[in-house]
Symmetry: C2
Subunit: 265 residues, 2 copies
């Protein structure tokens, strides 16, 4: 009995945490219960336990949000923490030269997961956030990850519907395949207002010890600024240093990146 209830209660409590997104960072009890298809009484009971521990906190509008304690615990996750510790100093060097948004990302499932971001006052405002996910076909770091993935993964990705974000997003599978071939050929990806109007990007792959794609490093600039290719030499140099450090420290990419391949294929 305890087993059944216990397991399901834990899973339901985790579902409540999973209901929060960057688009919906705060939710009422009713919204939480609805999103999790849960009786209000159950949601109320589980939310109370989550709030008591600090996983959730109530804001001044009496809406629930992820608690600072969960932020602290989440930062203990070794994979993103070690990748950040390795990548950030090199990203810092790139930022100092460019003063633009610098991204370090990995693939998770069919999405781009942003592990680290550096930005400043002069950088163009963009929607990317650390710990946030964006598509692979419409972002620079995503295209770099996709272009150097296995043929099987690319086939799977291109067979899925390609969401359009701007009139420049590549949504035709054939065109995306040609774009990825060109990206592999020249060794870096380019986007031109494909995710957000007004910003364009360039990114390079970061390879692991087996020579497989592990992550990607990119710069996002305002689309009216001069040519992106000028960033490629620095991006490649820093990407090589990050790859070397990751290999030296046996820092594997985000586990999902490897684990989900069977499903990806």
């Amino acid at each position: 009995m305890t087993k059944g209830n216990g397991r399901s209660a834990t899973s339901r409590a985790l579902d409540l945490l999973g209901a929060f997104t960057i688009e919906h960072p705060t939710l009422t009890l009713t919204e939480l219960a609805t999103r999790c298809a849960m009786p209000l009484a159950t949601a109320h009971r589980l939310v109370a336990a989550l709030e008591a521990w600090g996983a959730l906190e109530r804001n001044t509008d009496n809406r629930y949000q992820i608690g600072t304690r969960l932020w602290e615990i989440g930062l203990l996750s070794p994979v993103p923490r070690r990748m950040r510790e390795i990548a950030l100093p090199f990203m810092q060097d790139l930022y100092e030269k460019s003063k633009e948004n610098i991204h370090f990302a990995v693939r998770d499932g069919h999405e781009t997961l942003y592990i680290a971001k550096l930005t400043g006052h002069q950088a163009v405002p963009i929607i990317s956030r650390e710990g946030n996910r964006l598509p692979m076909h419409s972002t620079g770091v995503g295209k770099a990850l996709l272009a150097f993935s296995s043929k099987e993964f690319i086939d799977t990705y291109c067979a899925r519907p390609l969401a359009r974000y701007t009139r420049h997003t590549i949504v035709e599978p054939g065109r995306l395949r040609r774009e990825l071939a060109v990206t592999r050929e020249r060794g870096y990806s380019l986007t031109n207002e494909e995710m957000t109007l007004g910003s364009c990007s360039v990114a390079v792959p970061v390879f692991d010890a087996r020579g497989e794609i592990a992550a990607s490093l990119g710069v996002v600039v305002h689309s009216v600024r001069d040519n992106l290719t000028k960033y490629v030499p620095d991006l490649k140099a820093e990407a090589a240093k990050i790859a070397k450090m990751m290999i030296a420290h046996h820092c594997d990419p985000y586990p999902g990146f490897v684990h989900d391949l069977p499903q990806g294929v």
Copy 2:
């Protein structure tokens, strides 16, 4: 029935997450059960639910660690996220001038909670980490937070045992009180190898709309480098900009900072 089991199962599952620390980022099932004073069977059942959801993941040594999914969810916590979004660009400006470790911290209970950190290749290696806690009496940002706290809070803090980290740590309440008075007087804190041998720091307070201490901003450099006071003008300028932005965006400090005051008093 379900209620009792449900609530306790959720709380026990959260206890398992809380067992991980920066000193112990990976734990075996047995270690988890021991730390949470939980029967192995219960721990096994709850860990399975946590792992299935992605809150925990098992590494190659078959040890458990906080999962990347929890890292993603934790980053949705609005308070640290908004404070980081506001502070980081100004910290970036400080980093570019100094090339040293830059810290932005708040007080939580009787500890210094590091909200944001910028570092590079040239900065002295230090133990601070984003989301990590360090004492208030032995760190620059901590002393700045403590010095500008209420007399009641300072009394409470000084009445508690002051842990020694190096031979330079101030562990005598009277000496700490005098140090805090000097800090208030001159408007910035200084530490000299009080947390870690080889590093010293300078920090300034960040005030909220009520003129109360909300956070602190500091620089940590190698102790042999030249005088720290040269950083004070830039620190004060950036701290003022951060305070202005926090007030404009109604960005309250970490709730614990206010909520725990009654206990603090």
